[in-house]
Every structure is written in C-alpha cells, then in structure tokens.
Symmetry: C2
Subunit: 267 residues, 2 copies
Amino acid sequence: MSKKYVHGYTVRESVRLLDQASTLAGILHYDTIYPAGSNVLEAGCGVGAQTIILARNSPDAKFTAVDLSEESLRAAKERVSSQGFTNVTFHQSDIFHLPYEENSFDHLFLCFVLEHLPDPLKALQCLRRVLKRGGTITVIEGDHGSTYFFPDSPDAKKTIRCLIEIQAGIGGNSLIGRELYPLLRKAKFDRISVSPRMVYVDSSKPDLVEGFTKNTFIAMVKGVKEQALRSGLMEEAEWERGIRDLYRTTEEDGTFIYTFFKGMALK
Amino acid sequence: MSKKYVHGYTVRESVRLLDQASTLAGILHYDTIYPAGSNVLEAGCGVGAQTIILARNSPDAKFTAVDLSEESLRAAKERVSSQGFTNVTFHQSDIFHLPYEENSFDHLFLCFVLEHLPDPLKALQCLRRVLKRGGTITVIEGDHGSTYFFPDSPDAKKTIRCLIEIQAGIGGNSLIGRELYPLLRKAKFDRISVSPRMVYVDSSKPDLVEGFTKNTFIAMVKGVKEQALRSGLMEEAEWERGIRDLYRTTEEDGTFIYTFFKGMALK
C-alpha cells in the first residue's frame, strides 16, 4: 500500500504534512465550522494533520476520522489526544467500502485525498451514500499545474512535472484541483461552489517563504528525487539545478504561486 | 508603432478591451479609490477602458491620462466624454519621456501596460520621478503563464504559448504578473504589496464564461492566429484544435483559471 501514496510514510513526510497544515490552516479552514452535535466524517485523515484543525475549529461537533493505514491512524490518534481533543473517533476503513449505513453523517470532509485515488468520482459517490440529504461535503485539493514562480526555470518546472508524472504513474492525479467542480457535478451533488485558495509568496511574507515554499512545496518535490532519477525522468545534475532554481524563488526578489481548491456542495 | 502592441488596434480589439474591463472591473478596481482633489496620472490609458472606471470610482479626483497612440487617445476621450465624465485630461505622451516635473502627481495608475514595454523597470523609474513622495503607485498586470483549465489540452496550451512568444518577440513580457514585486522593489518603491486577483470560471458562473473565458481570453488568443501561422509556430489544423479545446473548457463540465496581479506601493 505504501507504494500508492506518492509522498510515502516517513517521519520527514509527517513533519512536512504538519508544516503544511499549520501554514495553510487559515487559508483552507477558516470557513469550515460545524454545528454543535453534528456528526462529521473525515475521509482519509492520514496522520491527523487536518483532523486536529477540524477538532479545534468545531469543538462541539463529533468527528469520525477514517484512513486505510493503521500506522497513520495510530499517529493521528496520538496527535489528537495529546492536544486534549476528545471529539474524534478513529476507524480503519476504505473509502470505497465504508462500513456505515446510508445517510449516516451530517457532513463530509476530505482534504488531499482524491488526488491519490485511481477513481475519485467513485470515491465521491461512495461518500455521498453515507451523507444525509441536505448535508454538506467539503473537499480540498491542490493542483500542481497551478504552480509558477519568478525567476522562471525550465529545470525547476521539470522537477515538478516529475512529481506529477510519478503520482499519475501510481494512479493519482495531482492536477485534480481544477477538476473539483465537474467531479462534484458528476457525483450528483447540488449547489456546488468551488473556491480557489491561492498561496502567493514573495519576500514580504517570510512565514510563507519558509512554511510554504521551502517546507511544504520544495520538500514535497524533493521527496520524489529517488523515483525521478531511478525512472530516468531526469538526470541528477538537471534535478539538482531544478531544486536550486526552486530555492532561488525564495530569495528577496523571487515569487512563488500555488493554488488549492476548496469545493463545497450539498446532497 | 502598431507592430509593438501585440493585440493590435482594430475595432474588434477595442470591443475586447471593453468587455474585459467591464467583466473585471469589480475584481481589479474595487480597492482603488482616490481622494477628492488628488492628481492622478494614468500611464498608457489606451482606448480608455480603465480610465472610465477610474473616473467613475473617484469622481472628485483629477485624472491625467496619457498614451503614445493619438488614435487610442481620441477613442478614450470620446468614450469618457460621452459618459459625461469631466474629470479626465488627455495628453499624448511617452512613458519614458514624460513632460512633467518631478513630484507632479499624488498618485500613479497603470493597467496592462508594463507587459508591452521592452524595459518595464525603466518605465517604473520614469514614472516614479513624477510621483510625489508619499504618493501611491498601482500597477495591474496579467500573467498568461497563470492559465490552466479542464479538460487539459496540449494543443490549447500551445495556442497560449504562441501568444506569449509573439508578445516576447516584439519586446513584451506576458508573464510579468509574477514579477511585479521584484520590479517595484528594484524601482525603489516602498511598502510594496502585491495582491493576486484570480478569475476562476466554471459553468455556475455564466457571466464569466461569456465575459471572461470567451470574450476576453479566447478572443485575445484568436487575435494572434495569423502571426502564429505565418511565423510557423503552429500548423493551422493544430491551431484550430487548440481553439476548439479552449472553447471546450466553457462547457458545463469545464473550468478555466487565470490570474491578474495588482501591485500597490509608495514612493
């Protein structure tokens, strides 16, 4: 299974996911607050990077967080309880075979999950089944094709294309952000609204230079170095130039742009 | 001179510029309001597409609108006076040789101008000279490299690359949006803040599908067809497939994304 999650299951990756979640918590989560007493399913909670934000922002909602990986769930459980949150229950479960009855949940939440699935439409259909009529779904995804920067660099763009291709090679789609609207539509959700959340970074925003460009994005690209070289997508010298040029965008006169997409809809 | 403005000076282009300005007026202009009595220089006013919005939003400010093209100025003058605005004076003038003394203006405004200039940094320096200390500059530019869409299409991307290359070939830079921050910095402006203005279009927003994707963006790409074919950048069949695929993104399950950048700074 670890082969199917492009970023892997290392400790370094857990740190990256938490850096990402805390840097982006405002921009991605500020408008997700669930009412007291509502039952919310978080599908694909991973190591709990988003779970902890959900639990904090909606302390009186009850979350059920599921993931395929027992190991990730253990980490998520520990993280959530170590911060004193008691409003999350964890279950090991597969999105395509959820052990819940129809109309079980008031709301659904998933973040950075569809991009890793070979059939994201089917995942949305399976999730819709367990959602109550009138309940909401919130889906957050990135789109690696939304990345651009100054100074521009063909080598840097090529490192990002490696990540896109490696993820596609194991059945994922890292360009899924732009596709949220049609996917939610095909899955028969109603009142769909997709809201782009751009991260624009220049040197007047040192927290984003560190927390996003370096520790989230470049760290993510660097994570596929071995696979990129092994599969012959890039030569090592070219790769190193690409990574150097990505860091170049974090200097005083550089800029870096990436966009997440947040889709909200009703059943 | 007409060779130097990539989009040309046709009537169809004037209509496109006005479509663009009215569709985007909210997103680009809502936070540009000048105080009563202030003297504002609009550099590169063209046919007055932005001038009219400036004049309307700040009815008690006094605008001086300059452009290199006498013909565009005539059109701008007619447009502004036909709408009853009396707070704009027009002058034929070159940004690089402005006939104004140092510190003449309280504020500077320019929109879709730097992208067409061979030396945008020098333009900013020339403009800074005529700005009073403590006055503001507002610069709005697009970035054609910020474009992506669903369904994705290599042919459609290639038509956009043609526009980028043709514009670069006559000394322009249509990827300048991402570079506003470093440019304003190098031109020694203070308190620089760059704000991206994304246009995200899906079929839940029919006004943007028509007003932006079709009548602004695709119309702009179509405008360089002859040049693209003549210079051998694309074959006609490939070009037609590319344009068809751009229109494909305007269907019910398509999405289209473009980002403008608005830079604000002080002298």
